[in-house]
Symmetry: C2
Subunit: 226 residues, 2 copies
DNA sequence: TTAATTATTTGATTTATATCACATTTAATA
DNA sequence: TATTAAATGTGATATAAATCAAATAATTAA
């Protein structure tokens, strides 16, 4: 059993719970640690719990018609993972894989639903969470097709720099070239070439998985212009 | 003021309201009728209401980096339109346009939020609605890149036949060739060509906007195989 | 350390689709 | 009904990116 009362990365939703509800949550909560590349949620498997990422970095992916996995998003600590599956209790509609060492809290579906119907502030926060997520997908959907590969690569480099590594200009990319391809809807080879192109015009410097942004303004421009 | 009490296309969420709450909803509700191609919600404009599609067909679209509008989805009666904007009260993140003659109910944001916090069954139904929507987007996102144009066109023909026109094999397409392009992420010309290709192998017959499915099995196969 | 995988890079080639330019049909308006 | 405008179709061409194939580089296992 976890101590949700002292958890420092509690979700906004959990923050709305009263002491009694929080104890109820604690009693139906279990914490697990994952190594990099370990599967946290497996698409097609029976789902019984909602996952909450306490620490580490994870990715959400889903199989398409060709059987190839596409990465839907990178998840940071403080986010729910299987929220959308509350509906389809039966099977997971996507996979979640650890990129770092990850600490994940699991809450069983039933208890989670119980909290939703008990506390409407809790439900409200979840609503906001889902709305925000959906708008992010809209953005992503609309842009991924209107940009060519260099633009999309610029986009994810900026994403990691800004969103994941707090505006660091140098960072270690947790994704392989193949992962990046699955994230921006292209092939491994095209990712390599796009990175090479961006390097040749001195916008970035890349050695293996170490990424360094040399010309932030230009990178942003490439991201915008596609 | 509308009569929500007798509305036959009430959302599952609204069905959870008690008589008092329903009256509250009615008092903050206004109904408007739109002609085909009329704008119901305009991206970038200040948003103050949540829209609910009572009848007709509408499309949700959003501008990408290139300034080109992409169609995110086709909305059928019984669905909320601006739900995701509850968060960003300021501006609409997408546009909604009528395809048919549409009847739309508007509820002001504040009253809607009030209902969420008053009735947790209401909030719960909205949660389920958003979850279902998100899973649909996942599906769409993952597949649109793994299929080539013929497969995507097959997909939307099947979508209209099955989902919009109750499995009718003959139907009037409410979208122009350009709209279809915006929906499946391609160009007007490529849509024309794909339709021509499908027609030549006698899978469909198309005259103007009249679509007829001749070989359903084959169309489904093309949809699956990409 | 060496061998054996696995990941990445690079070049050559192919292909699906975008783009351009123009013809034709259909719908809207005077 | 004639005139204009908008939507659609069609061919030629260009191009971004996929695919194929093979060489390096980097990990992992023995």
């Amino acid at each position: 059993m976890q101590n949700c009362e002292t958890c420092i990365i509690r979700s906004k939703a959990v923050n709305t719970l009263n002491p009694k509800e929080l104890r109820f949550l604690m009693e139906s909560c279990a914490e697990t640690t994952y190594n990099p590349r370990e599967s946290i949620i497996k698409e097609g498997m029976l789902s019984s719990h909602i996952a909450y990422l306490k620490s580490g970095l994870a990715m959400v992916s889903k199989k398409g018609v060709k059987g190839v996995d596409q990465i839907l998003k990178i998840v940071q600590p403080g986010n729910y993972l299987g929220l959308q599956t509350i509906l389809f209790e039966k099977v997971n509609q996507f996979s979640v894989t650890a990129l770092d060492k990850c600490v994940v809290c699991f809450i069983d579906n039933l208890s989670f639903k119980e909290l939703i119907s008990r506390n409407n502030q809790f439900a409200n926060e979840l609503l906001l969470f889902l709305c925000r997520e959906e708008l992010t997908y809209f953005e992503r959907f609309v842009n991924i097709h209107q940009k060519q590969i260099a633009g999309r690569i610029a986009d994810i480099i900026l994403f990691f720099s800004e969103k994941i590594y707090a505006n660091a200009l140098t960072f270690e990319m947790p994704l392989s070239r193949g992962d990046i391809a699955a994230l921006v809807c292209t092939t491994r080879e095209s990712v390599t070439r796009a990175i090479k192109d961006l390097s040749e015009i001195k916008t970035i410097r890349v050695t293996g998985r170490k990424f360094e942004i040399l010309d932030l303004a230009r990178l942003k421009k490439i991201n915008q212009s596609g």
